[in-house]
């Protein structure tokens, strides 16, 4: 038994794994590569189109942030082994609720926002409850809610106001304490200073003369970064994060080990709904109106961002940072094609192609991790 005394930590049967291969099996890899490629390409082809001046940067940052807000929830939910196809409808529904409560019914805006969040969380919990109780695929359950919520979003404003768009939200939110959390901008002083110093351009004519072209960082972006940070922290650094992985990896095994799988899944459905509500609140504050068609197809865009970010559709594996990078790629390409003067319908072609590549790459990575052949 001379082999038993060999140096600790080395085993002749365990092949040393190269650091490259090790880097390769990080879930964020696809997202990181994609981000670099996308930025290099647009620097080359759209570098002088204004995409990378202050306004341009703010443009694609905002769009990416929108994707990020919904992608974080979708990512954690997917890692926990479930889908939510009702995200898009939830966005429309939440926006409409804020408008109905805050404008039509004349409630103070903060109350309208809070009741809307409560409603969304309750619907998210209901989604999750039905999924864990019936054992049905979340795909079907949330598909039902996609239609149910969208139906109400179109029906309710028609019933109450005889139209499908409710405006006047900005006036109703004037002076409210909660509304700026979603519709406000931060660091406006800094950007004014940037403008004065000539670091970023200022308006040269009109009522805004002298003001910088970018007034500040929208709260939308702050929310996106905040949710990414919180999501990443929970997933990687807490006990609950381990439960999320376990629930999606193998629910039965997790249950046998004492993980409250149902609770975890319901929480993740609620978190996804929360993301949709944040998205909706930011959007209605920015637009000043709520429309019945808001958030259309957002559920798929969220899922695509998550998959580009390296999460497995089957659950149990993924990364919030990856999903955030997926959202960034999404936003940069969507706006970048516009800056580069490419026909915007080609964006969908790009989306399909990159989705396919991402899924193939993820499957390959999964094989490496699990050692399947």
């Amino acid at each position: 038994m001379s082999q038993a005394t060999q140096a600790v930590g080395s085993d002749e049967r365990v092949k040393q794994i190269s650091s490259l291969r090790k880097a390769l099996i990080r879930p964020e890899l696809g997202g990181m590569c994609g981000t670099v490629i996308v930025f290099v390409l647009f620097f080359i082809f759209a570098g002088d189109s204004g995409m990378f001046n202050a306004q341009g940067v703010m443009n694609w940052t905002t769009v990416s942030a929108q994707f990020m807000i919904i992608a974080v929830g979708a990512c954690l939910l997917m890692i926990a082994g479930e889908f939510d196809l009702s995200i898009g409808s939830m966005i429309g529904f939440a926006g409409m609720m804020i408008a109905i409560f805050g404008v039509t019914l004349g409630w103070p805006m903060w109350a309208a926002i809070l009741i809307t969040f409560a409603l969304c969380l309750a619907i998210g919990a209901l989604n999750g409850y039905i999924v864990v109780r019936t054992g049905l695929p979340s795909f079907i359950v949330t598909l039902a809610f996609l239609f149910i919520l969208r139906g109400f979003t179109i029906f309710l404003p028609q019933l109450i106001e005889r139209k499908t768009i409710i405006g006047g939200i900005r006036d109703a939110a004037e002076g409210d304490w909660l509304a700026p959390i979603f519709g406000g901008k931060i660091l406006t002083g800094l950007f004014q200073w940037f403008g004065d110093m000539g670091i970023i351009a200022t308006f040269t004519r009109g009522t805004k003369q002298g003001q910088p072209v970018v007034e500040g960082i929208p709260m939308l972006v702050v929310w996106a970064l905040f949710l990414v940070f919180v999501g990443h922290f929970i997933l990687t650094r807490t006990q609950f994060g381990n439960w999320i992985f376990a629930s999606g990896g193998d629910a039965e095994s997790a249950r046998n080990s004492g993980v409250p799988v149902n609770k975890v899944k319901i929480c993740m459905f609620m978190f996804t709904a929360f993301g949709a509500a944040v998205f909706a609140a930011c959007q209605v504050m920015e637009f000043g109106s709520a429309g019945a068609d808001r958030g259309l197809l957002k559920e798929f865009e969220a899922i695509i961002a998550v998959v580009i970010g390296g999460a497995l559709l089957t659950g149990g594996y993924g990364s919030v940072i990856g999903a955030a990078l997926g959202a960034l790629i999404f936003g940069v390409v969507q706006q970048g094609l516009f800056f580069a003067g490419v026909e915007s319908s080609l964006f969908r072609v790009f989306l399909g192609v990159i989705l396919l590549f991402a899924v193939i790459l993820n499957t390959y990575i999964r094989r490496i991790i699990t050692g399947e052949r």
Partner: protein
């Protein structure tokens, strides 16, 4: 001999009109490996499920460390120190060994109001425990999916031992393994036994049982045919007891005695 850590007395279990166990008595001592043998349908699974609190016995009593126990559910049995490693291992292939090791029992490190998963502690303990069992991991972040079946078994056993099992029930741990991996698992059982833990080893493979077992109890059609000590019984006798008689002897004859 000292007092048994767990005693099952005249256990009967009926499922409706089916009598799965018809009065089975087994006692297990700390630091021994008690093999429970039996063919498919002999009642092995029902018996260990009764022992681990999944089923309640219809008749009979369970004494744990001399006291009568009534387990309401498996959690009760686990907190009393009876751990079961099922064939379905409760391991998640995509997760790292250390995350699996502490699944459901995550070590917590508090920083102010935040309660964090103490990865440092988890990684260190996982590496230590696995080394004790003779498995050198590439790292604590290695995914369980890359381990062999025998190594996964060993992780599951090490996990049960680390979390304070006094009685370790192994449900057919060698049934799907190759020769080399089986040897590794049997060696692990031996190590666990030497730590003073009572091992209940369920198998239908006589050779595996004889390799590590101290005592052998054969179940057949819901009844025990007595408990034999190591050295008192030959592999052929065990095989006959399991099969419950003549047919296998004849079959064995035609196969040249290799079953």
């Amino acid at each position: 001999m000292s007092q048994p850590i767990i005693q099952m007395r005249e256990i009967e279990k009926h499922f409706g009109s089916v009598i799965a166990l018809a009065g089975v008595s087994v006692d297990v001592h700390a630091g021994e490996c008690h093999c429970l043998l039996g063919d498919n349908g002999a009642g092995k699974s029902t018996f260990i499920k009764t022992m681990s609190g999944v089923h309640k016995p219809t008749h009979g009593e369970i004494l744990f460390e001399g006291q009568a126990m009534h387990f309401a559910d498996p959690r009760d049995a686990i907190s009393a120190g009876i751990a079961t490693v099922h064939q379905h291992l409760a391991m998640i292939p995509l997760m790292s060994v250390s995350r699996n090791f502490f699944m459901g029992n995550e070590p917590i490190k508090s920083i102010g109001p935040l309660k964090l998963f103490d990865h440092e502690y988890a990684n260190r303990v996982t590496m230590e425990e696995m080394r004790k069992m003779g498995i050198n991991l590439r790292g604590p972040d290695q995914a369980v999916g890359t381990l062999s079946g025998g190594e996964r078994q060993t992780v599951a056993i090490a996990r049960a031992v680390h979390f304070g099992a006094k009685v370790l029930i192994l449900d057919e741990p060698t049934s799907a393994l190759g020769v080399r991996q089986t040897a590794n698992v049997l060696a692990t059982i031996d190590k666990v036994r030497k730590q003073g833990i009572a091992v209940v080893f369920i198998t239908h493979n006589v050779r595996h049982a004889l390799a590590v077992g101290d005592r052998f109890t054969v179940l057949n059609r819901g009844k025990t045919l007595g408990t034999a000590l190591k050295g008192e019984i030959s592999p052929e006798e065990l095989q006959d007891l399991m099969a419950g008689g003549q047919e296998l002897a004849q079959l064995e004859g035609s196969l040249g005695g290799t079953v």
